[in-house]
């Protein structure tokens, strides 16, 4: 065969047939659902385009000038026009409902999801597992377990995309965004930054490795850095002197943090706020806007003093505080352990902004 066509072309065609897929792998629980909608929409497009093409062709053949020298004027037809208003509208509304259900499914994480933090910066992805495992441009996840990513950018907009999982979410500076998935097939998959973020945008890529639960456990043990995020947070909590006010004592100047995560707080302005990751982060950076009722607005801002990684550590620490015992321990630690832990440097100093 390759004698009849040019070898280059032959090579090209073989390569295409062997190496080029027309369709991405289905490697997450949601993929088949996304693909179902995709095929429906594809069908709609093919039928719609074919319909228009066939009508055009038929009319062009039947009413070309040679066959139909004199046109018959037609004003319009309410019935026909109603038909091609209502039928597309009905299809589009169906697509709307279908797409909306899918959207809520993709963006509303189940409550039992395990959480991994992602920090995006020009031009790399950092993944931080609660156990303290850190990865750059890589992400290890187990199969069969919902994984939620809590993501934030340290500089510009990025976007976290795993095409084979059919999930993507913008990673925004200054606020947490979340996405979740449940990987189904062990293997490695592309991870892309899909929001243009400057010079090396196309190098802000990585590999998602999906492991069986056993392999994942092994990987976690091997990659252990010795300190969990909460432990890092605890050190930071002590070294920043947070426990001076948030001591958990009845007479403390700051509110008790034990059990605060997931509760509802009444603020001085009377509003009620659910304490989640975003709330904790905002309250550290911008305390004057988040004063719990009954307390004085005396907390200084930590804007620019704690990096996003540090904030994640603190959030993770506060999340895990179930009772005052841990804070008391921290109090002890900070008094006894004078060798201050290494604080991650502030974000603004690293990026060398103008």
């Amino acid at each position: 065969m390759d004698r009849f066509i040019s070898p280059v072309l032959w090579q090209f065609l073989t390569k295409w047939l062997h190496a080029s897929a027309l369709f991405p792998a289905e490697a997450s629980g949601i993929s088949p659902y996304v693909d179902a909608l995709y095929f429906f929409l594809l069908l709609m497009t093919i039928i719609g385009t074919t319909l228009v093409a066939v009508l055009l062709l038929t009319f062009c053949l039947r009413y070309r000038r040679e066959k139909n020298p004199v046109a018959t004027q037609v004003e319009g037809s309410t019935l026909l026009e109603a038909t091609w208003t209502i039928i597309p509208l009905a299809i589009f509304l169906l697509v709307f409902v279908w797409g909306a259900l899918l959207y809520f499914r993709i963006y509303d994480p189940p409550t039992n999801a395990m959480n991994i933090y992602i920090v995006g910066k020009q031009w790399m992805w950092k993944a931080e597992h609660p156990g303290g495992q850190h990865e750059i441009n890589a992400l290890h996840v187990p199969t069969g377990r919902p994984v939620q990513l809590t993501m934030i950018s340290q500089d510009v907009f990025h976007s976290f995309s795993i095409p084979d999982f059919r999930v993507k979410r913008e990673v925004i500076p200054g606020r947490y965004s979340t996405v979740w998935f449940e990987a189904t097939e062990p293997g490695t998959y592309h991870l892309f930054c899909t929001q243009y973020c400057g010079t090396l945008h196309s190098m802000m890529i990585g590999e998602v490795t999906v492991l069986t639960p056993d392999d994942y456990k092994k990987w976690l043990d091997q990659s252990n850095s010795g300190m969990s995020l909460a432990q890092n947070g605890e050190r930071l909590f002590a070294s920043m002197g947070c426990n001076a006010c948030h001591s958990g004592n009845a007479a403390a100047r700051g509110p008790n943090l034990a059990g605060v995560y997931g509760s509802k707080l009444i603020l001085t302005d009377g509003s009620e706020r659910l304490v989640d990751d975003a709330y904790l982060r905002d309250a550290i950076l911008n305390p004057s806007q988040h004063v719990t009722a009954g307390y004085a607005p005396i907390m200084p801002t930590y804007q620019g003093q704690i990096s996003e990684d540090g904030l994640i550590d603190l959030v993770e620490y506060i999340k895990g505080l179930q009772n005052n015992y841990r804070v008391q321990q921290t109090l002890m630690t900070s008094q006894s352990d004078q060798a201050a832990p290494t604080t991650p440097t502030a974000a603004t100093n690293e990026t060398g902004k103008p």
């Binding site: 004027q73 037809s77 196309s202």
Partner: protein, 564 residues
Amino acid sequence: MSTANSQSAPISHTILSLPDQSTARMPKRSYLNNEDGLLSWLLTGDHKRIAILYLISITFFFFIGGAFAGLIRLELLTPQPDLVSADTYNKFFTMHGIIMVFLFLVPSVPATLGNFLIPIMLGAKDLAFPKINLLSWYLYLIGGTLTLAALVLGGVDTGWTFTTPLSTHYLNTHVLTAATAIFIAGFSSIFTGLNFIVTIHRMRCPGMTWFRMPLFVWSHYAASLLMVLGTPVLAIALVLVALERIAGIGVFDPAKGGDPLLFQHLFWFYSHPAVYIMILPGMGVISEVISTFSRKRVFGYTAVAFSSVAIALFGFFVWEHHMFIMGVSNYSALVFSLLTMLVAVPSAIKIFNWTFTLQKGSITFETPMLYAFGFMGLFTIGGLTGVFLGSLGMDIHLTETYFIVAHFHFVMVGGMLMAFLAGVHFWWPKMTGRMYPESLSKLAAVTTFIGFNLTFLPQFILGYLGMPRRYHAYPPEFQVLNVLSTAGATVLGIGYMLPLLYLGWSLKYGAIAGNNPWQATGLEWQIQSPPITPNFIETPIMDHEAYDYEWLANQTKHEVTTVG
């Protein structure tokens, strides 16, 4: 449909009727030779001359923007970043986007064909504000020159979307120059829109009621509303970017208490309606062309007219569909997705109305009609793939990939550029008095159609596979589809070079067209080609509906208004 001469002879496959070339002469006086000298062009208030100035300048910018597209495709021929550096590549797609969107697509049909034709179609001597019209061309030129300046000084790499805080804090390229250029070019667009709105309201000739206006005018009216109401918001967004960049005011920077999503809202509040600014005038062209070459009144005139207005109206309330993955509230996403589905309906209506205009017509296949068929096919695909992106769950996977690149090129290039070329060919004899060469132009139309599909169909597949847009390098498994796309771009490039050559040739050697070579019904076809400076010798009186071919057949003397 010309009755007298077609009864004995066999029915021709074309409606083209040219005057006898052995005796035909170009008119002695026309807007082209009314005054001589460069200054008479640069200081003109004549809408027709300004249209020609625009035509020359946007053609210039189209080919610059096209050259950048060629460079992008060339780099993407291989997965490795081997042709240019990452920064240079980023500048390529930024310049391609800025030039094509703000300096070509937005002014393309309105500033050239609209400028030339709207007063004539309404039976007026000029637009309402001739000097503002000229000012708008100068603003366009200043905007264009500044863009070129940014390019020559070293380029800009924000992407045409100027996303903050990237554009305000992290780039050291000529962001301000480019932003200023777009700011100024935006005013050019506002003035054009303003001029059209006032002209359409106030300068219609006696008898020209709203529902006797050609659909070309209706679609320009809708687009003008968008220009006037939307463009100032873009201007505001750009001023805020400049302020944050120069003075460090924290509007968008979260570290200073700003909101990075605010920029997205402001930018897309303009830039989504801008899509309709680009496509609506093209739809106007298609209505005229389809009617003329099927010898029939447009099917459901009122529906087509109102669907333009409906698109303009809904077009303002769908901007958030560019932000579905950006952490907007799930419930607001619901509302915007629903409205996006609604805005797709008027476009579907138009497609079917045009298709049924052909039914029982007497169809011929001249070049403008071929381009119009190209438009209908490609715009249908472009529109339907838009429904993918308006659907919330689907958008998550598809947005920011090559799928979206393919989608908007189907609408903007497959749709708008096809419509622009249909219009340029259709009205070329009116604007210049001469015909373009028919067989060569048919070849160009077919080449464009094939090249276009080869370029952009593979990109849909690439997008679903997950290839992100604006990537300088990509995983090797995407190469085959990228090679196909680049091959298509080469064919497409040839398709666009051809008209430049033969239209230029026709200015001198083209057949003399006469007043009404297509036997069309519009007022513009009842006057001399090229028209005299005041368009009409005496104010016309519109005593019939638009697209009234019986009226045309009954006109015994088509050329009463000719000045010899």
